[in-house]
Symmetry: C2
Amino acid sequence: MIRGILFDLAGVLHIGDELCPGAVPALARVRKAGLLVRFVTNTTRKSQAQLIARLHGLGLGIDATEVFTAPLAARAYCRAKNLHPYLLIHPDLKPDLIGLEATTPNSVLVADAGEGFSYANLNTAFRVLMRGGPLIAVAKNRYFRDGEALSLDAGPFVVALEYACEVEAKLIGKPARDFFLTAVQDIGLAAANVVMIGDDVESDVCGAADAGLAGILVGTGKYRDGDETKLPENAHLAADIDQAVEMVLEGKLAHR
Amino acid sequence: MIRGILFDLAGVLHIGDELCPGAVPALARVRKAGLLVRFVTNTTRKSQAQLIARLHGLGLGIDATEVFTAPLAARAYCRAKNLHPYLLIHPDLKPDLIGLEATTPNSVLVADAGEGFSYANLNTAFRVLMRGGPLIAVAKNRYFRDGEALSLDAGPFVVALEYACEVEAKLIGKPARDFFLTAVQDIGLAAANVVMIGDDVESDVCGAADAGLAGILVGTGKYRDGDETKLPENAHLAADIDQAVEMVLEGKLAHR
């Protein structure tokens, strides 16, 4: 029985500053039905404050305490491990990671830096890693929908550094198991009673399946024809947020 | 019995505009002993003409016809396959690849672009690949010695694009089997009678072993402690070019 939903944000509820059709009523139905919700995002081109402001501006009625972002999880991880990373991040993300840096970095933290993925910056990161520091990946997404086109996300640059230095990054955001489980724990449900709704078959749906959640892939956002062939068992395809919520409320995911 | 030698250039015979100690006499001994030589390089920050000019300036006595470069092999490959690639390359390499481009690229060719590995350029390449064009990697080296420091080579950016688009690059330069075999064929020897001397355990020595050649890893250039643990069977470690040539001339590689 599904009692809770984790929603991805970009590509599911909104694309940039535009709401996805049906997003507001779908969310209202879910809340009215008494389902518990959290929002889990790998978006790393905005600070938590900017993200919340955008969601507020879109009229989605999402409270800041319901949102779990990969960058804040990364900050918590670095603090716990006493890591002072070289930050390969978007300038807008700096407020969320302030205070982590040190004069001599002992690690590298990669988020979606956009134009910040210059050869010079990547070379700086490479040299820190070659001195033995660990590599922290806030996210490892391949690409995201950027207006009409797809654009490179953080993942390709993470694997570039992994290859250059023959190291494996510690992944913090989706599809890392712990990231889903932190949100699931926060709503006080068992993973088996929660479904993840997202537009990224790997980060959202496969990651959720690994953590024991049900999953629904929506055909909006970065979805591309054929992504559904990568769906794990007990995961489903829906046209959009409206149809995904319909599937949950109709109890179609009940018998797993 | 070893009758021919393939030499890597940078890191073995010279580092930038400096000769490696012992390079000129070592090469003279080899030629005097009647061994056949060729030079195989993945260097992609210079055109063939600039490369030959540098070698001439260093007094290495190398003839242009003895040099096999990965970019020229890539040009031949693209012409044979009717590929008009988007070029992610260093501006100095343009003379070697002129005429390949088209208004609408149908593929991507990656060499060591240095500062040309900007987010914008990588995104352009990514979008060509997402339309279904093949990815051609002139080289896939991890890094190279850049003065006092190590710097990122083409390889990390090739794997970044491979990961983003879920494709596998066609590799042209070392360690591709065909690249070694073209040079071996040119001297008219069997692979088993040729040894490759290089500073890159993977591209030079492991690649040569896959093509059936003997190999010697030198402890100069990009060599790092521990690289010798990756040596394939029948490959050897030498301190430098002088000791490597000594090993060949003493017949130490004869019984494979």
